[in-house]
Symmetry: C2
Subunit: 329 residues, 2 copies
């Protein structure tokens, strides 16, 4: 398979993205990486493995640039990379650049799967019980109940095909477990999900249950809530480790103690490390577009390439198409 | 001052609530605690300090009972306790029972402060930089932009009078720092808060910034998002400590290390312990009503009594009344 990697997007672009692409190419010899970058950046590339090629672009969409500008910047890295997929020259696009621009490029160039109201960003969330899926992570801040129901279907197929969960448990994020709890949209979505015979819907999930991951495999929410909640969890875990690190360096006694427990604390940190799970696929478009954290390092990019490879190998897009075609009947 | 303590409400009622009330009575001799309970529970009370009295009620509102039942259960502990405040026989009510019932009793019996569209639940959130305020925590899952603007004003006065922050920084929880980010309501609220000359509004706050608490003193959000986010943060911190504990018990080496770092890890845990900050006041009603976590233990109840005492001593309700009277002019 072929991955168009936007080496211009992200807080640590181009260096970390390039390194991540090289690592992915070495780890997955069956994958061909097409690095999309400006002339200046391509000229400075180090010697590359044989399974990396390059494609030149003329500009970059800024992280905070108005998405509307995309149509004026058809030579931008994300436009060029996504167009490779549209033209059949790549099987997936991976980027850590502007999420808005990447989504717009995907919808515009690849198009929506028939029957899908709105594409959604699915994030693989590290939980105590293993990887879980949460969607939407920000594509639809004002998702309505029908969209939330569709997110359940898309999340199910993702959890099944890409994560390998046989009959995924779908939960709805709410401010209480009772079906009467929620804002108006969530209360309405609860009914739709409950009546959706294709889904193994287990009801509402509270914020505190997300991280332990015991009850559910997929949790559905609007893009505003998903973004805020995942960033809150991530921030809490990161801050906690930072404080613990500081505390353990506070005296000779704690420094000795820290040496003895170092490996174990590292295990815990790794468990909740978001970069382990790579990027977040945009579900519902006719192609694979993996959205990475703006702050992605090489390791996160390598894992995002692995996610793209998984989606491709499992025929995720085709399976989604089949599921929604059935619903249209 | 006098606190009506609902000893019937909460997952660990009545024992933990009674113990918390006794601890508060001992710690704050200037406070009189009125324990509100059923005959059966009052009969079994241990010997009480002189500054505790009792008041009998006839029933209890169940944790998941429909709030509408409150009007049929005027002898319930929360109704009786709140009525003591209404009748001038207590200055504050503290409960760990059904949040919905407590809110309904407060609005019904104490009434809204003139000018306040909807009361909101304010939670004191432990952050790395010290206590912060987040509201709404669940009273208004569908808060509109005008309500969010008012939450900013109520949060400011709470942070100023009760937490002692001179000129509190107010942030708006959103899925990005740019003012264009948010759902429709949040984007609209951003403009109202920006134009509110009484507020030191610093713009949008992302989920990941909540726990470090550096940029803001008060963070405003609707009751759905607030509930989900605070529970997510709480769940993440608790789960992390649980995993660390397990890891540190895994071998002799880690057990020795754990002994050396025990006090320091306990410091970190205490920093993020919600029970340190007691209950969440319902802001915007004409009286003090402190809503406690359903899972409150004695320590949390004692701290909730302290929060009630702080609100009373700082004349919080009167200050809120003055602020909204000014706005009405």
């Amino acid at each position: 398979m072929r991955i168009a990697l936007d080496i211009m997007g992200g807080d640590h672009a181009p260096q970390e993205i390039i390194n991540g692409g090289i690592d992915a190419a070495k780890k997955y010899p069956d994958v061909q990486i097409i690095m999309v970058g400006t002339e200046e950046v391509l000229q400075k590339l180090p010697e590359l493995p044989a399974n990396i090629t390059t494609e030149q672009c003329g500009s970059v969409m800024g992280m905070d640039e108005a998405v509307d500008n995309l149509m004026k910047k058809k030579d931008s890295s994300i436009f060029v990379a996504t167009k490779l997929v549209k033209d059949g020259l790549a099987d997936a696009v991976v980027s850590a650049g502007s999420t808005g621009a990447q989504m717009a490029a995907a919808v515009l160039l690849l198009g929506r799967i028939k029957g899908v109201k709105r594409p959604a960003i699915a994030t693989v969330l590290p939980s105590v019980a293993g990887p879980r899926v949460i969607l939407d992570m920000g594509a639809n801040p004002d998702a309505d109940a029908e969209m939330l129901d569709q997110f359940g279907v898309m999340g199910k197929i993702f959890a099944k095909t890409v994560l390998g969960y046989e009959n995924p448990h779908i939960g709805l994020l709410s401010n209480g477990t009772e079906e009467s709890k929620g804002n108006k949209t969530v209360i309405e979505a609860h009914q739709l999900l409950q009546n959706n015979t294709e889904l193994n819907f287990i009801g509402n999930i509270e914020g505190r249950s997300i991280i332990n991951g015991e009850d559910y495999d997929v949790v559905v929410c609007d893009g505003f809530t998903g973004n805020v909640v995942v960033k809150s969890i991530e921030g809490t875990a990161m801050s906690l480790f930072a404080i613990i690190k500081k505390e353990l360096a506070s005296s000779l006694k704690t420094k000795i103690g820290a040496m003895l427990v170092y490996d174990n604390l590292k295990n815990v940190k790794k468990l909740l490390d978001y970069s382990e799970h790579g990027g977040a696929p945009l579900l519902g478009v006719k192609g694979i577009s993996i959205i990475c954290h703006g702050s992605s390092n090489a390791y996160a990019i390598m894992n995002a390439c692995r996610a793209a490879r998984n989606c491709y190998e499992q025929g995720f897009v085709a399976q989604l198409g089949t599921a929604f075609a059935k619903k249209e009947d």
